[in-house]
Amino acid sequence: MSLQKSKRFSSEMKNSALSNKEKFGMVKGKVSRFLFGFNDRRGFVLKLLTYTLLISIGFVYLYPMLHMFVTSIKSLEDLLDMSIKWIPSTIYTSNYAQAYSVMNIKEAFKGSLLLALLPTICQVAVASLVGFGFARYHFPLKKLFFGLMIFSFIIPPQILMMPMYRLLSALELTGSINAFIVPALLGQGLNSTIFILIFYQFFKQTPETLYEAAEVDGANQLTIFFKIAIPMAVPAFIVSFLFSFVWYWNETYLTTLYLTSRSTDITTILLQLQQFEQNYEAMYPVTANSPNKINEGIKMAGTVISILPLLIVYFFLQRYFVESVDKSGITGE
């Protein structure tokens, strides 16, 4: 097709019936179409700019992860060798073996999973209920409550931290996972406001007539919620679930505060990462010329291990995640 075109173009060029000026104009037109595009076709310049930007920003995004990964497979010699930057001379796996042994992975993984999963489920369930309530019904003081909900997102957590801690400890909730589940059940988990708003926008968008039709058919409000609202809000559930899971997984401040204040067996991968250096030194005491001294490679291996579960979840869910954002109505109209 394009070969034909170019053949025709070259034969037109050879056509002596056209003056040189006309030929030049034709070439100019072609070039400018190629460079700047016409109608809906984008030109080469714009395309080049788009890809350059995307790739360079993409590199900036990936840089820390690449650095982390490459450092984690460097042996001590490679780390010290200034000439080795990106490609290690050997793939050195004992960093991982050491990090793995330091981090008490089995227990920590169980703890992390539990601490991320259960509050997430509670949080998403409650957020969908509350969002539905705000979106579907009119009741007195609704606007006030809605404003207060947004306000509760803006309050710096430090103001609430100590009284909240005292309250939870008076209720005997600290030291167990309940310290996370109870607030999540009451719609006050990590960033709950955002999830409520996502569901609010989503339920606002589903057409009113659907609900009315169900009401005419004699469905009660809970049936409507479970049979109509929830199936239509699957994308909102996926986005909320992923965000909430990630935020709970990465939360360390509250975990330290609520869990270590009372003796518990629960530990999380990120708590292990925080105490990595101390734990390492306890396990491999530094002697005069021991080969086991902690180095960046081992630390980075620990970091890689700690984000690996999240990465795996992300790579399985990302397709739904990236697509469902378009549909989930986060932004409303």
């Binding site: 809906d40 984008r42 788009t50 890809y51 995307l54 920003i57 993409g58 900036v60 995004y61 990936l62 820390p64 982390m68 450092t71 409650v126 209920l129 509350v130 309530g133 705000f134 579907r136 019904y137 009119h138 009741f139 409550f145 509760s152 997102f153 803006i154 309050i155 710096p156 430090q158 103001i159 609430l160 100590m162 009284p163 909240m164 005292r166 309250l167 607030p183 009451l186 719609g187 006050q188 409000q221 990630v246 935020w247 990465n250 360390t252 990120l270 990462l273 630390k299 620990g302 970091t303 990465l311 992300y314 990302q318 397709r319 990236v322 954002v325 989930s328 109505g329 986060i330 932004t331």
Partner: protein, 285 residues
């Protein structure tokens, strides 16, 4: 008076949140305010309160060496970073919204930071120097800027360059929000504009920007709150330190948190006033 059934249903659905708000937000808020008016001592028998009125609040401003300094730094940082993050997020969202090859792969990369940009992982990366671009030499930038800017502005900008990765990493949620709204703009609007001879540049200012304006506001507020409440914020750390310090104690830390909250709120209000939807002015006849 007969209560409407819808009212009952509404309250039933939001009941968990309402209870949570009263118990876990309002009550701690009142308590915290009460604490801030007291000198608190933690004794073996329990907490001891000594009412001191607003002295703590005055002390925050007059006696704390770091608070004002950190607050100014925070203000300068926010004024620079919030627009950078939001504009950057908008650019990325628009690029991702174009018809490009490997769109899925690019999106995967750009949302990746959302899942790791918090907690000790980022601390580890910063500690290892993995979060600074080696291409941008901090010292060179700083000395160039100092030639024509006062020191404190130059420092803030240089730090902006230095932490560009962290800043960019903080824009995941904002990109998401922008992308979602960009995809909802009716393509027919653009077609109509093209037929009328509008260029891409004009389309951006006349169609895209007005449509996404509410989201810009939301993103600005989200960014500011996220920056203000992040664990990497020195003021937050200052408050934590004071909380457990022997001489200051919790009452003082509460007062500081309140002052900080008020400053942040004022910033939010300013942003809101600048970017809110203005009612179209009625033309005078």
């Amino acid at each position: 008076m007969r209560i409407k059934r819808k009212t009952i249903y509404g309250y039933l659905f939001i009941m968990p949140w309402l209870l949570g708000f009263l118990l876990l937000v309002l009550w701690p808020l009142i308590q915290s305010f009460y604490f801030s008016l007291n000198n608190m001592r933690i004794t073996p028998v329990g907490l001891k309160f000594k009412f001191v009125g607003f002295t703590n609040y005055l002390d925050v401003w007059l006696k704390d060496m770091f608070f004002i300094q950190e607050l100014l730094q925070f203000l300068a940082n926010s004024i620079l970073r919030v627009p950078v993050i939001v504009v950057f997020a908008l650019i990325i969202a628009m690029l991702l919204n174009e018809k490009v090859k490997f769109k899925g792969a690019f999106r995967t990369i750009f949302f990746l930071p959302v899942i790791i940009a918090s907690g000790p992982v980022i601390d580890q990366l910063i500690g290892q120097g993995a979060a600074t671009v080696p291409l941008a030499d901090q010292e060179v930038i700083l000395s160039t800027l100092r030639q024509f800017l006062p020191m404190w502005i130059a420092q803030v900008i240089a730090e902006l360059f230095n932490q560009i990765i962290i800043i960019l990493w903080n824009s995941g949620v904002q990109i998401l929000l922008f992308l979602a709204v960009l995809q909802k703009i009716d393509p027919q609007l653009y077609e109509a504009a093209k037929i009328d001879g509008g260029s891409g540049w004009e389309c951006f200012w006349k169609i895209t920007l007005p449509t996404i304006k509410p989201i810009i506001l939301i993103n600005l507020i989200y960014t500011l709150v996220a920056l203000a409440n992040s664990n990497q914020n020195p003021i937050i750390n200052l408050i934590y330190t004071n909380m457990f310090s022997a001489t200051r104690g919790y009452g003082f830390a509460s007062a500081m948190a309140w002052m900080y909250a008020i400053v942040t709120t004022i910033l939010l209000i300013v942003i809101f006033l600048i970017f809110r939807e203005k009612e179209p002015k009625r033309r005078k006849l």
